[in-house]
Symmetry: C2
Subunit: 487 residues, 2 copies
């Protein structure tokens, strides 16, 4: 069919069929796209298990990265990290390499897919920040028994994802954006996302806006999912609630996903490689096909997207020739027959209309190191994290003496966030990881480290420190939180 | 009725009725307990809004803490943090002060409470680690735009909660314990919980054991919740999935919770203070009553617990005189009539049997600073986190020169976990927060800081560092993770 419309300008897309059932669901998608004359030209590329087995530790060969960089668009099947190969997943590699900061997860009740929530009209999109948070993967053993992961959130990172979510709401004519955070506990990191949401929100007056605590969000998603329209959230929270929400409408087997950035966009199925049915012609291609439909809309091919989506919807609604996982009476057919049925239905419309879409605009960010200079800076102290098997009282005595005559004094010691020196009388269980807070006797303007370097040097003669954090003030405000129990 | 059984030994319990509807649901619980001759004597204590308004920043007065320490047992209604008072919640204060490390959240389908999952026999317990993880609340602004929260997990902390979960499975005659983590991404922190689970598990051969990734767990909880028996997980994950799971069986309005530690146990309703109906006699006391039933079992009063639980179950099943939120036809009664109905039903049995319970044994931990000395230690480098608006290339050049002639060399620079120097060709968006990794030319035995202190001092003359992490090796293994993109 390619040759019947030789004058259509085609968009070149990197296709990573992936592992397990990946090649089958990609082939199904390609057949349907050809039948619908979708204006796409595929450039096949390798990623996942085969790459790992060639000792490419990222799971994504250079040629694949180059292809995506060239095309700016990719469709990706499930990628495996084979046991014993590679420390990182190829999925994470691609996300980070191309700075695909926005993960878009539509969650819509589909015709014919029965769930406990059928009939309630679930139709939402979860917009998950995709590169920051605990996924930076910065972990250090503080002591042989204490592990630390840095949860990093940035103002530019929050602003980008929040603007992407507002942009998506506008592009899909949605009415409400809900920001889900744990700002009540993590006032600086998760709180930053809430604050940026409140700062940026007034620029989008046509979108209703509210904030919800993430645990309540998870609760509300099973109690009253129809209340949500668009949800924006941080990476780890979004990981959990997007999979939760997919479960409300039928599961990961039919869930599509887009990963968007300024330089590239990768569309993918959320499900795994299902090795137990791979190669048997039984795989359900709905998720990858739905991701490919998102891709068509991303390049502005709205009509073709709607044609294919309607053919999928009516096929699901009529229930003829569905794959086994979708078949209500367990009379499943193979991938081939399901694809044929969808192709036969091209041009028909289902009772469930496709949404009206407009182009999505992402706010580009200048290609500089993002930096805001505060009006004032002060350095007021330092947290020195020490490995010790001493009691809190003995450690407090020792550090008080060490600080004598220095530019700082010992202020408090906490253990996993609870103040243990001076004692507040709590029954804190102590691990060998003490956060020892020293305050400068005279706060310094700027970022002057010498008194701190001297103190840390002296501490190191008696105690094993492994981690140091300056205590700063920006624009006259403390740039750190106080431990539980501190006045 | 108190006087009819004067010889029963009563257990004294600190009661914090709390805010909003708290006093009403506590009074309801007390009436039912009296009618059932439950062997409890209440010691009323203050916590929450009233305490905050008296300028007690923790929300828990000294007398309340003393009462709980004396009794070792407490029942708690909802506590508010009034806007403008207190930076920390009283709930968190109590948890941390008494090191209540195990949060127990039973999730069971109740008679008469209709949900989309009714009839599937959901009956699980979520065991959430309650004091570690991002809840340590250790946050530092790294730069004016970059916030950091430390996610801390410890081997003793993991072992305690995992043994508590196994203990609970044994006490409730449950068959399977599922450990839910994000070990695939956070190999040191979340991975520690998985490793400890696998180490400790063989000591409990009668309990089936498996591991699930937390996002899949959230997915499975809405797809097939009946597959779960007991789930153990870290603090933030558990916060989200316990509220999710409560939603499957009717919501937070009926969800009880226990917070257990070596020195005290606090039982509570999960719901909020519902100020909009407070004082109107309309509140549903099911959650606090259910928490109080958990408390009876905790002190071994299994028969009284079952009597009250059966009266509650049959009241819910028969649907007569329920509060408005529970009433299927919207014909709700007040708290008083609902309580009367439960009291009238004391002695009757419902079709839903109470589980068989045995005493729960928590493994006590010695009251020392937990510490494991590795067989070997090496110091091999240091991560210096620097605020800079330079490009990665310029910063790399500068730091390479600064390190010349020192005991260390610049190895790599990453930005939010992605290597940006030497460049890997990725399109990383840069924030002004660079993790600059220096390796010692000659690895040092022990924890020798002088070369590092010297280098950090030199860096401080040219760049603004705010955070330093030593790179250690314990027992011959790297005690840190490598950034994405590094070999």
């Amino acid at each position: 069919m390619n040759n019947t419309h030789p004058t259509i300008t085609k968009t070149r897309v990197t296709a990573m069929p992936g592992d397990g059932i990946g090649p089958e669901v990609f082939d199904a998608t390609r057949r349907i796209f050809e039948a619908a004359n979708a204006p796409i030209e595929w450039e096949i590329a390798e990623a996942g298990a085969e790459a790992f087995k060639k000792n490419i530790p990222s799971g994504a060969p250079r040629e694949t990265l180059d292809s995506i960089a060239r095309n700016g668009l990719a469709l990706k099947g499930p990628l495996e990290t084979p046991v014993g190969y590679g420390a990182k997943s190829a999925n994470v590699t691609l996300r980070k390499h191309f700075e695909l900061y926005a993960n878009i997860r539509p969650v819509r009740e589909l015709p014919g897919i029965k769930t406990p929530f059928t009939g309630r009209g679930i139709d939402m999109v979860i917009v998950r920040e995709n590169v920051e948070d605990v996924y930076a993967g910065i972990e250090h053993m503080q002591t042989p028994d204490v592990a630390q992961c840095l949860k990093l959130m940035t103002r530019p990172g929050c602003e980008r994802i929040i603007r992407a979510a507002f942009g998506l709401a506008l592009a899909e004519d949605r009415k409400k954006l809900t920001c889900a955070t744990k700002a009540n506990i993590m006032k600086l990191t998760e709180g930053m996302m809430k604050r940026v949401f409140e700062q940026v929100g007034p620029e989008y007056p046509s979108i209703a806006q509210d904030h919800i605590i993430i645990d309540n969000c998870a609760h509300q998603l099973v109690i009253a999912p129809e209340q949500f329209d668009v949800i924006v959230t941080s990476n780890m929270n979004g990981d959990i609630i997007s999979d939760l929400a997919a479960g409300l409408v039928g599961g990961l087997g039919i869930a599509p996903s887009a990963n968007l950035g300024d330089h590239a966009a990768i569309f993918e199925a959320v499900h795994g490689s299902a090795p137990q049915i791979a190669g048997k012609g039984l795989a359900n291609p709905t998720a990858l096909l739905s991701a490919a439909i998102m891709m068509l809309r991303h390049i502005g091919a709205f009509e073709t997207a709607a044609t294919i989506e309607q053919a999928l919807f009516i096929t699901l609604a009529e229930g003829e020739n569905l794959t086994g996982d979708l078949s209500p009476r367990g009379h499943g057919v193979g991938t081939d027959k399901f694809v044929g049925q969808i192709i036969d239905n091209l041009g028909r419309s289902s009772n469930l209309a496709s949404r009206e879409y407009r182009p999505l605009h992402l706010t580009p960010w200048p290609n500089l190191t993002a930096h805001t200079e505060p009006k004032s800076r002060e350095l007021i102290g330092v947290d020195v994290f020490i490995e010790s098997d001493l009691s809190a009282a003995d450690l407090g005595d020792s550090l008080t003496k060490i600080a004598e005559g220095s530019a700082l004094r010992l202020d408090s010691i906490s253990n996993r966030g609870v103040q243990v020196w001076p004692s507040t009388g709590g029954q804190t269980f102590l691990v060998d990881h003490f956060d020892c807070r020293f305050m400068l006797l005279t706060p310094a303007e700027g970022n002057v480290p010498q008194g701190i370097a001297d103190l840390v040097g002296k501490i190191g003669q008696n105690h094993a420190w492994m981690h140091v954090e300056k205590l700063q003030r920006f624009d006259g405000k403390d740039a750190f939180e106080r431990p539980q129990g501190e006045g």
